[in-house]
């Protein structure tokens, strides 16, 4: 078997070795929730439009605009071609023997053309992603306003090969910083802040918690970005791998406060592993543009334990992608737990 180290160096530009997947909100990634409804066969097709009209006015199915009222019964010897939703089980009058007669008062909907009702399960919420749509449609026909970008992202195809090559490069910088930090006895975590508009790296940092328990790689990078804008409050001089480049000169020279970037607005962060709660919220406060991480963390707050980037009630949200250089980033973690285990055994 090929030694690992060699493979890392050899695959410096091998963008086929990883796929970036989006970390979607709970609403977008949860299972399809179902509610029960009564459906009935339409035995006389000519009555269909009248039945839909009358049922819509008697039982409008409020909040379920994504549900189609009628579904076709595809072949397989079905005696009737169509089925229609009569009402939700929760809408139905409290009767023991469910029949068309008990569900529909004769002055509201004429029963002509309807067969006897039965219970079906229909999706309670509009599908937000193609996988949700496909699952929902298995239960009952559902309409779907597709976000094409999400669909493509879920297939892992959002980024083109040249884009992936750039992402690869940025994550390699984070990876190299992680190794440098590790050399100095820190946890093997590295991060890079990039301005995607100019493709410039603004800051590179690594974990420094050996000297300060809160100096996680992301916190280090946030202060380095502040330094690049003339602020900041720490000195990372003793860590050669932690560095920043000054703000884009054109915006800086104009001297107007309004033309300076506001903290991390519009910037991307690359970090070898999923940020913790503190770091994730620090990124919300810093108005980060997007976050890319290599591999998940046990207490991670951008997908694992929380999804702070899509948290309701917070005033800033951002996109998160995981899996960039996943193998290499995972190996960083492996190194670490191995070391920790050894030191415990010593």
């Amino acid at each position: 078997m090929e030694p690992q180290i060699k493979r890392w160096k050899g695959s410096a530009c091998d963008t086929d070795s990883w796929v970036a997947y989006p970390v979607l909100s709970d609403d977008q990634s949860q299972d399809v929730e179902l509610i029960e409804a009564f459906a009935a066969p339409i035995v006389d097709k000519k009555e269909t439009s009248r039945l839909i009209r009358e049922l819509n006015s008697l039982y409008p199915l409020n909040g379920l605009q994504h549900i189609k009222r009628v579904r076709a019964c595809k072949g397989k010897g079905s005696p009737h071609p169509l089925e229609v939703l009569v009402c939700l089980v929760s809408d139905a009058p409290d009767v023991k023997d469910v029949s068309i007669g008990s569900l529909l008062p004769s002055d509201g909907v004429r029963h002509d053309g309807l067969g006897e009702p039965f219970v079906v399960k229909v999706p309670a919420r509009p599908p937000l992603t193609r996988p949700q749509f496909e699952l929902a449609s298995k239960h009952w026909p559902t309409s779907f306003h597709e976000d094409k970008q999400v669909t493509v992202a879920l297939r892992g195809e959002l980024f083109s090969p040249p884009q992936k090559a750039t992402m690869h490069l940025y994550m390699m910088s984070a990876f190299t910083a992680a190794e440098a930090g590790k050399e100095m006895g820190m946890e093997a975590v590295g991060a890079v802040v990039v301005n995607p508009a100019t493709q410039r790296i603004i800051a590179v940092g690594h974990d420094c918690r050996g000297d300060h328990p809160l100096h996680h790689a992301v916190m280090v990078c946030i202060d380095l970005v502040a330094q690049s804008q003339g602020g900041g409050c720490y000195s990372f001089d003793r860590y050669p791998a932690c560095r920043f480049t000054s703000s884009d000169t054109d915006t800086f020279k104009s001297g107007e406060a309004s033309s300076q970037p506001y903290i991390c607005t519009g910037y991307d962060l690359y970090v070898t592993r999923e940020p913790c709660v503190m770091c994730a919220m620090a990124l919300v406060h810093s108005r980060i543009g997007r976050v890319f991480y290599g591999t998940a963390s046990a207490d991670g707050a951008l997908g694992t334990k929380f999804k702070i980037h899509s948290q309701k009630d917070l005033n800033h949200r951002f996109e998160v992608y995981k899996g960039v250089l996943s193998k290499q980033c995972e190996d960083l973690k492996g190194l670490e737990s191995h070391n920790r285990k050894q030191s415990l055994e010593d």
Binding site: M219, I222, G231, C233, M278, M281, S286, A301, F306, L314
Partner: protein, 179 residues
Amino acid sequence: MGTQGGSEAAAAESFYPSDEDREKWMANAFDMARDALENGEVPVGCLMVYNDEVVGKGRNEVNETKNATRHAEMVALDQLLDWCRHSNLDVRSVCEQTALYVTVEPCIMCAAALRLLNIPVVVYGCRNERFGGCGSVLEVSSANLPQTGTTFKCVSGHRAEEAVEMLKTFYKQENPNGD
């Protein structure tokens, strides 16, 4: 307030802040918050108290440093760490006996930072509806996060109206249409 290990709870109990302590230290925290307001920062102030001694204090300094993580608690935690270094004391054993007094509920970031440093008790004034990490937006203080330090207890409501008023004053000033 969530589940807690018996030993942690016992440790927290041993120096649970008295009414008198609360009165005294919160008055100080409010002074810090007012200082923030006078300097164009979000008016939040805090104190870290160990053995009846202030080992860290801070107020929001986000605008001054262009670093959005410079909340009062983060500033005070830095001072606490410096204090430990100068006093040659173990950070963990100091933190485990330190209470935080802060005018506003710590945000999600600060709540996680307090956990990472094993601070067991937080006394705060008003809720933080925008960012609160002790129940208002997320309950980081008591969440099951085994890799993120220890949970902490909260005592809330001390001079809450006053803390809210200061925040309102700030956000009124900040609104450019109000200038």
